[in-house]
Every structure is written in structure tokens, then in C-alpha cells.
Symmetry: C2
Subunit: 204 residues, 2 copies
């Protein structure tokens, strides 16, 4: 009844995700995953019908965590300020705080990983990714629309494009940070995004 703390299914998924972020999906064999967690084929195919099934489970779990992160950040930001612009700035600031704590395990996004092996996955997987990106666009977009109702942007501003840019910066900086082996880049680039929003809507 009580969900086992060392649930084998979760163990497999955790190991799989870590390996996939380093080797890609095709480059990660089921055997390699199982060796990591000390289980065998029997365990794997008891919990997953196929390797594709694992991919599906992984991306859904990742998307759920992603949504939880977004909604969590939004709630915290809404508590910390009443002004929509400040809320967005705070949200990005909170992400910067999280990025500051990044050190050893280099960041990686399963969405991006799967996107660079597009043809390996079915439409269901791609829909999950698409919806995850769309959710950030929607939730941040509506905040920015509120901002635009009150303030005048210094340059023509499309709220959806501005919202997208956070996703863009995060996905992009993961690549750069991995390649340059510099985790600090993540916070630095998020800071640039925050600067942009400040300059665009600031009154200075």
C-alpha cells in the first residue's frame, strides 16, 4: 500500500533518465540501465512493455515535474508580489537561484534530448513535449499580457514570444553549459533574460 521507497520501477526510470541525458535514448541499452540498478531483464519487462514504453513513461513523468515546477514558481511569485511584471521577474530570479546551486551533475532536459532523436519516438511522446512548452508559453504569456495592459513596452512586444524566450534560454544554455563545462552559465543567461524584461518594461 505505502509506495515503496525503493520502488524498482522508479529506480529503473531514474537510472534510465540519467543515462539517456548522457548517451541519448538509442545509445542507452536496457542492459546498461539494469546493470546500474542491479536488476535484470525480468524486472524491466515486468514494469515496461517495451523500450518505447519506457520512453513514454519517462517523458510523462518529466512533463509532470516540469508543470509542477512552473506552477510552484508561479504561486511563489504571486505571493511575493502583486505586480505581474514583478511576478515574472521574481519567477526568473527563482530559477536563477536554482541554477546557482547547480554544480556537479550537469543539467539536461529530456525534452531537448528527445527532440534531437525525433524520429525515434511516436506522436504521443511529441505531444507531451509540445504541450509542456505550450504551458510555459500560456502561463507566462498571460502574465505578460497583464503587464502590457498596464505598462508600455519600449519596443514592440509579443507576450508569447517573450514567454517562449525563457524556454529558449533554458534549453540553449543547457547545451552551452554542458559543452563549456561551466554550470555558472545557466544563471548568467537567465539573468540576461531578466535584464531584457526589465529594460523592456522598466520606467527608468
Amino acid at each position: 500500500m505505502a509506495t515503496n521507497t525503493t520502488d524498482s520501477r522508479t529506480l529503473i526510470m531514474d537510472a534510465a533518465q540519467e543515462l539517456i541525458l548522457q548517451h541519448g535514448f538509442a545509445g542507452t541499452s536496457i542492459d546498461a540501465i539494469l546493470e546500474r540498478v542491479g536488476l535484470t531483464k525480468g524486472a524491466f519487462f515486468h514494469h515496461f512493455r517495451s523500450k518505447s514504453d519506457l520512453a513514454h513513461a519517462l517523458i510523462e513523468r518529466f512533463a509532470e515535474a516540469d508543470e509542477a515546477l512552473l506552477e510552484g514558481l508561479l504561486k511563489r511569485a504571486e505571493r511575493l508580489s502583486r505586480d505581474p511584471l514583478q511576478q515574472v521577474l521574481i519567477l526568473v530570479g527563482l530559477l536563477e537561484e536554482m541554477a546557482d546551486e547547480l554544480t556537479e551533475p550537469y543539467p539536461g532536459c529530456l525534452f531537448a534530448s528527445f527532440c534531437y532523436e525525433t524520429q525515434l519516438f511516436d506522436d504521443e511522446v511529441h505531444e507531451v513535449i509540445r504541450e509542456a512548452f505550450a504551458l510555459w508559453r500560456k502561463r507566462l504569456g498571460e502574465k505578460l499580457r497583464q503587464v502590457l495592459e498596464v505598462r508600455t513596452a519600449r519596443l514592440p512586444a509579443d507576450p508569447d514570444a517573450l514567454a517562449d524566450m525563457l524556454t529558449v534560454v533554458v534549453e540553449g544554455v543547457y547545451v552551452l553549459s554542458k559543452s563549456m563545462k561551466d554550470p555558472k552559465l545557466v544563471a548568467t543567461q537567465l539573468r540576461q533574460y531578466r535584464n531584457y524584461l526589465e529594460l523592456l518594461f522598466g520606467e527608468g
Copy 2:
């Protein structure tokens, strides 16, 4: 003597790159590449010692094209304006023009693709990628340093971080654009980056 227009080696590399951007490196078999170009194993292993050798050749060619693009854009920008800020803005604008012409074949970057299968490649490959990113940082960074000598930024500005942001935006928007199946996003996001630079250094 005259380099054959349908050089088999080049044909293989072209097909390989296209397939790798869709399936990843591990997900792309040598047989699949050869089927595309109508050649056989004999041809492949005549031109490449191994699959890793192909990876090395691909990333070097990609990096050379990347460098050529950067230097070409810089020269054009330098001809179009004397002002360093304008040069950078023009460079980004030229990239936007290129992005506008993107329609069918979704964009993809071999650097990012390889970064998401990191463990599959040796240090030499990673060094090539690292240096490619470093070059953009260096070349754009020195331009932005010139800008900072003349103008005062509205917010604390690190030229290297600003330079990196172009790479970040490009890499990031490739992921988003692929996933959302919207090639227009590329130009839109580049525009945001240009806006940021304008706001940061603008006199308005």
C-alpha cells in the same frame, strides 16, 4: 583533380548529417546512411576508418562551416556600418533574414545533437564543439567590448555573457522550433535578442 561534384565521401557525410539530426548518432546506422546514397559498406569503410571517424569528420566540417558563417557575417556587418553596436545588430539581423527563409527542413545543430549524446564521443570531438562556441564568444565579445568603451549600458553588462546569449538563443530556439513545428520561431527569438541589445545600449 577537380573535386568531383558528386564526391561519394561528401554524399555520405551529407546523408549522415541529415539522418543524425533526426535520429541522433547512435540511432543512425551506417547501413541506413548507405541506403540513402545508394552505396555499400565497401564505400563507407574506404572513406572512414570507423563510425567514430565519421563523427569526427562531420563535426569538423560543421565547425568549419560555422566559423565561415561567423566570419562572413562579421565582414558583411563591418562593411555595412562603422559603429560596433550597429555591426552586432546587423549581424543578428542578417541571421534573422536567413531564419526567415527556413521553412521545410527543420533546423538543427550538430553541436547540440552531439552534446545530448556526450558520452558517445571522445575528447577531440568535444574540443571542436567547445572551440566553435568559444569563437562566437570571442568574436562577438570583442565587438561588444568596443561598444562598452563608447556607450554606457543601462544595466551591468558582461560582453562575454551577451555574446554567449546569441549561441544560447540559437540553440534553444532550434529545440523549441522543432518541437512546436514552427520555423518562424527562429527569427522571432533572434529578434528578441536584438531587442535586448538595442535596449541595453540604446540612447532612447
